[in-house]
Symmetry: C4
Subunit: 190 residues, 4 copies
Amino acid sequence: MFKGRLEAFSDGVLAIIITIMVLEIKVPHGAGFGALRPLLPVFLSYVLSFIYVGIYWNNHHLMLGSVSRVSGAVLWANSHLLFWLSLVPFATGWMGENNFAPATLAIYGFVLLMSALAYFILQNCIISANGRNSVLATAVGRDWKGKLSPVLYCVGIAASFWQPWVAGLVYVGVALLWLVPDKRISRVIE
Amino acid sequence: MFKGRLEAFSDGVLAIIITIMVLEIKVPHGAGFGALRPLLPVFLSYVLSFIYVGIYWNNHHLMLGSVSRVSGAVLWANSHLLFWLSLVPFATGWMGENNFAPATLAIYGFVLLMSALAYFILQNCIISANGRNSVLATAVGRDWKGKLSPVLYCVGIAASFWQPWVAGLVYVGVALLWLVPDKRISRVIE
Amino acid sequence: MFKGRLEAFSDGVLAIIITIMVLEIKVPHGAGFGALRPLLPVFLSYVLSFIYVGIYWNNHHLMLGSVSRVSGAVLWANSHLLFWLSLVPFATGWMGENNFAPATLAIYGFVLLMSALAYFILQNCIISANGRNSVLATAVGRDWKGKLSPVLYCVGIAASFWQPWVAGLVYVGVALLWLVPDKRISRVIE
Amino acid sequence: MFKGRLEAFSDGVLAIIITIMVLEIKVPHGAGFGALRPLLPVFLSYVLSFIYVGIYWNNHHLMLGSVSRVSGAVLWANSHLLFWLSLVPFATGWMGENNFAPATLAIYGFVLLMSALAYFILQNCIISANGRNSVLATAVGRDWKGKLSPVLYCVGIAASFWQPWVAGLVYVGVALLWLVPDKRISRVIE
């Protein structure tokens, strides 16, 4: 019962986050295709963030689908994750409107980093509420993706001021890492 | 369980898409009826897009209502559909604010085309997860509407630069095609 | 199953409608209480529309709670109702920002009128799908409120150009009419 | 059944409230870190309000999770609570954009006060519908937090005009009071 509402609330917040990001793609004043060109960086940022929020939704969904107990700590760890994800539209808009300027790339990476840490905390709260031998604990295993991603985000943040395109590449790379079909995911589904 | 959250998330995103479109109808500064006249193209675009999103919601709902298995591929095909539908408010606003200018009609048709293709992919993913003899596979049948619509959108896109009103007519026509009570729909419901 | 998603989608749309209305109360630039005074008509419009959307949600909820069958016609009648309700934030914002000018009062009344008619159509679709002897048909009875409201909205629209305050009074009056505890409601709940 | 939709609708509204607040953090025009500095008060207001809405969601969720009967009065008391909470984004934005000016702190406190009173009314409606010996009545007990909070908000409102930082401290303090793990919460969960 408690899990049901936790999922419903998270679905609501994630659905809104993913959708209000599109509001940052402001309708241009011109009527020709040329009016769309300045929107390209905003659009690309939107695509990347859409994929990231989609990945979070997918994993959140699988993680909660496999557990039975939800503690008070889980409720707050979940809100903490939603807080950082709620900053994604802002970071996306700022990065897109400033054509991937260094500071904006660094802040984008920082929001991704904090979201990844918040997800890690939530995962641990859920495992500790359900036991080391729960389905989730087994499915997560050594969790190399979850441990590698924050390191890569840090690389991206540092690279923002040195070679901005490296930062962009790192953020796209981490997204691809998670998009690639994950055996853990299919295992949990079956 | 997984299907339940997929539906809930999709409902959330579709509900928000349909509702934020109305934000493009900006409150005018004048207080007389004359102040509403410039909003007419924006309003008409809104009506058309509302019907399209309504059709997608209806069909999505019926499609998922008839299946029992949801695979990892289905999760991503669904996110892909939501991505293209999330661009409908932008395309609607641009078209409405520029009085159905050629480029805006073409982009609107392009977003409809990509949404239709994404829906087709999602349908195939669901059928392949549930088997050729599933209720959905039977209900969809030869799917002439699903196959004709992308062709018509292409006609609409091409017509945008030649006779814009033809493009508009085509987009309205495809919507009517789907609005007309569908025997498949009632069959699936019963 | 179908009813469940119809309710979820409607809840989503109504929740968003009720919440985006608050976005029309634009944050003022001044920092003193005086900066809030110009917001008073916007705020009052918001309160009235919040109550109206709340009434629609309540009644929609009770109406669907008592039925078992949902037909294709019901799905579309429901979308039709959501369409008119989705225009409430626009009408509210226009009326509030123009200090209840005649044309804005008339359009507000028109949106309420069309919503009331759409609700009436939806109710009839549901009754015809569930039978004249269904719980809903009995609970609705002769439905004097449902029949009186459109008449009162027409009075309000006409009064907008003659005595605007009468229109305002009528809109508030109809809301109170529905707010007053309804024996039908408690009967359906029990 | 009725409880289910009440929860779904409230989840939707709370999810939207928590998410649209982030729209008040407007994307700045500059591309350097310096462009973020003026956003600091807006960001801090956002964090505080996010925590408050999170607390309300958590408690709402626990309160409804423990009851079985929902009356017509509960439906309206719930809408009343959502009304005051829907004003939180406005109060947050006004306070943040004006750097915690006295009048904005007082209005913020007023919205928190009215939300707390609305929550108190809702709690009493639910208890009176479920009986003095219900799980909720026992769990709530003497409810010293629920009774102390409105008093503290009044102190905060008064302090706004005298020592604004005291008001800020009081609002943060009440949030911490509710964040501290509550034995009542774990008792209800178990």
